[in-house]
Amino acid sequence: MIRLAGLRIRALFGFYAARIRQHPVQEMLAGAGIAVGVALVYAVMVSSASITGSAARVVEGVAGHAQLQVTARSDQGFDQRLAAEIRALDGVEDAAPLLRSNVMLVGPDGSRSTQMVGVSPTLAALGGELGPILADGDALGTGLAVSEGVAESLGVASGGSVELRADGRARMVPLSVLSPEVGGALAGSGAVVTSLRLAQRYANRDRRVSQVLVQTISGRRPAVERELERLAGGFANVTGVDAELAALRQATKPNDQSTQLFAAIGVMVGWLISFNAMLFTVAERRRFVTALRLEGASPRQPLTILGFEALLLGVLASGFGLLLGELLVRLIFDDVPDYLAFAFPVGSGRDFQPSIVVLCFLGGVLAAGLDAFYRGQAESREEIAPRTGRFLLWTALAVVAATTVVAVAVPAVTIVGGITLAVAAMLVMPVAFRFAAGWLERVTGSTSRLNMLSVALMELRGPTTRGVALTAVAAVAVYGSVAIGGARDDIVRGLDSHTRQWLSNADLWVTTGGQDLMINSFTAPDLDRLRAAEAVAAVRVHRGGFLDIGDRRLWLIGRPVDSPTMIPASQMLDGDIEQATARLRAGGWATASAAFANERGVEVGDRLRLPTPTGARSFRLAATTLNFGWIPGAVTINNRDYADAVGTVAPSALEVDLAPGTSAEAGRQAVEAALGPASGLTVQTRAEREAQYYDFGREGIARLDQIAALLLLAAALAVACALAAAAWQRRPRLAALKIQGATRTQLWRAMLCEAGVLVAIGCTVGLTLGVYGHLLAGRFVRSATGFASPFTLQADELLLAGGFVAVVALAVSAIPGWFAAGASARASFSE
């Protein structure tokens, strides 16, 4: 029979069962705190890993044994004969061409921008999981094959037709649905698949491909790579098949870091919630230990009992937390960000990683263990001595100072500073308590109007571990929300400002219509006919696309030379905007995101070399800029240089100025009429395009909003539960006050005042440090993302974060508080 410290396992279970019967609410609260922390971390880690994981599965499933790839440097692709030449190379086992093209699908229930992948039968030879399926004409049908989710969102059943818009043309094409079993990882993604031949026809890329996957004979890779470089001849990139994943990781890194910081703060809040619950039973546990010792228990036996209980609580709470986290992933964090889908092969598939489950589970058990350790050490209702409070305050100030120094010196580690500031918020609490209580006491001391607040203050004068832990929950949650939420709002404002400037160039925008960066080129419509329309004053050609350089998928922008704005002023960093504009118009000059320019060691006036589809080209750097809202960065040249460099005159957007006095709607109708009914292009007013961009900009950081809301809600409910539990536990004392003549309403008001003061202290400390955290986080975000995000304090946002926690906590705790205030007088005789 297994025994621990001489105790049977069954007896240990019995002790815990008795404890749950005795303190079900406190135990549930402790478990809920751990579960909340585990759930947030799990959900964030899984959803972050799933973006890159799903992309990896798609890449691996398609590429199979291929190690190398040749990729086009623009969406125009390259001649497919290159695939045959590659296959014929010595050392090449097999090679398969693909054509990837961004398209738009329009069905009865909605539209969707997505990537169309054209595959050839040779793909099957590479041995990838998806190869044989994708190369199977029967599975693909005679048109487009899409996942069940895509078909559903469009409102088209298998065998139906969908409108496909590609290269500026619209056509109806048959649709088939890939079942999950058939489509594997790809079925979970938003991509649509078709045969190479059809893809070339739909995208108007006759005999063009954008990628050739290459499987080399063992040991021949270096030689093949050299041969591929020769064949690519400077107009295509030769890389490993996983190069795209590195670019995806680079693009998602800042967002992942911010999300992880939020999750870390979520863990702290979760642990504090659990710690709070534990504190309610410290005195009782100490009595239990003493009683056991008096009964003859060895010193190890009470510890074994406490440790076993912590282990059980940790296991149960962590298990529940994992389930809750899974629910979050499925219900809230399951969206595939469109801002990545048009640039990378991301899918919505889940990426199950046992390491994440184990990590979260062990973390939860460890948190329960820490609680149990404290429970054996301290007296929760004991006042924290003023001296200890001062020591903690100095420690907090030292932490803030050290965080500042480190964040200024090494911005990359600001993320750690986010956590240390949260710790500082907790350390500040005892002194904040004394200060607030002392100040309020002076205010209320001479008046009889705030008597119930005075009664509350009597209870609060000395900060106790329990009071501090309770306020710390509110403080840390509000801190996290304000710091990260503030930085997030700065980004949004910066992006919005950029969008307004960017789109103010024209009254109407003609694009392929997707929610993207206007990087999809299309065959130009009859521009003369468009210009001749009565409502139209001017039409300018904007060009844009991606350019892979190292790990960066850069946004290459070709601005019309006749545009009033070549570079939005909000994006300028180093250089004179007038001069830079003139230079861009003249040609041979470029502006580049500062991070990219720094990486290449290029300064204003220096030559910047870009590997373009027509070979390497040099531009002189006219200015450095922020990154135009695209994390990997942007390079701007004029549209003529763009056409030369990319080898196409195809626009990716048309900027239309309307004749004076023409309304946007009338202008749109005139332009649509000029484009003709067969056009697959979308005409949008400036306001419509702006609205689309606002959504687009917010989508990338939507996860932060979701976690912030969850964190605040969890904290508010936890504070409410802790307040309610504290009120309930205090019933004998409330009954005693009743005997002294207090009415139920008076007691209830006093408890509300006490709760209000506690929450207000927590929220104030959280807000104060949150604003400072916002300052540091904003600095980090600007350096990591290159977004224009000027620091702005928004009083309404601050009040919303603090007010939400306060109102929910008070409102929820008010109900049990009312019942506690109705305690029978007999309760005061029960102790």
Partner: protein
């Protein structure tokens, strides 16, 4: 003020059974008279005390203070009556841990609407009389058990009550401290002409009480079994 209980009955339900915690008790306590109430656990002492203090409403009978029926007052009026007229001393003290001694003693005055600073000033003489004047700014955690009991007494007396009720006021004290507290209660009762009921197990109480009564199964009986009963409590 005179405290009078007339044929008071208080019942409780325990499962399917109805228990008469207080069974037709009649008792009159004159101003300045201290009654010591003994009885085994579960005999109904606490119920009787709560009923006498307008905390519990009797099922039948009445509690009167100077001929005013206080047992039928609605809850808010009963609370106000307690706040203004009754001093309760509880065995468990129920002091506020974080509040100072002065705050604890002044709580009734603050509940009655007095500004806290003034309430603290008013209770200072009581604290000084009880030997706590020097420690008025300390918290209960720094006091001995006897000192805490004296704070509870100061709290009971802060509103200058007309009736004094005490539940095991010496239950947590050693013999010397118990004697001190009981004598203090007797002195205060006489000095301020308060009717007082002290529920106790302490034989010393019988020495200081004017009358000694015993409650058994909810009924008052004489005190013949007590060690050294004083007074001639005969009930109504």
């Amino acid at each position: 003020m005179r405290l009078e209980l007339r044929e008071v009955v208080k019942r409780y339900r325990s499962g399917t059974e109805t228990i008469r915690a207080v069974d037709r008790v009649s008792l009159t306590v004159a101003p300045g008279e201290l009654v010591a109430l003994y009885g085994p656990s579960g005999s109904g002492k606490t119920t009787l005390l709560l009923t006498a203090g307008a905390m519990l409403r009797p099922d039948s009978g009445a509690v009167l203070a100077d001929d005013r029926v206080i047992s039928a007052l609605p809850e808010s009026k009963a609370a106000a009556f307690r706040r203004d007229n009754i001093g309760f001393v509880l065995q468990s003290f129920h002091l506020m841990d974080s509040a100072t001694i002065a705050d604890n003693a002044a709580i009734k005055l603050v509940l009655a609407g007095m500004p806290p600073r003034r309430a603290r000033r008013l209770v200072r003489p009581w604290l000084e009389r009880l030997g706590l004047g020097e420690r008025h700014a300390a918290t209960p955690a720094r006091l001995s058990t006897g000192e805490r009991q004296r704070v509870a007494i100061a709290r009971a007396l802060a509103n200058d009550p007309k009736i004094l009720l005490a539940d095991e006021p010496t239950g947590s004290l050693d013999a010397d401290r118990s004697r001190d507290v009981l004598r203090l209660l007797r002195d205060l009762t006489r000095e301020r002409a308060l009717p007082a009921i002290v529920v106790t197990h302490d034989p010393e109480a019988a020495e200081v009480a004017d009358r000694t009564l015993v409650l058994r199964d909810g009924r008052l009986t004489d005190a013949g079994t007590l060690p050294r009963p004083v007074g001639s409590g005969t009930g109504p």
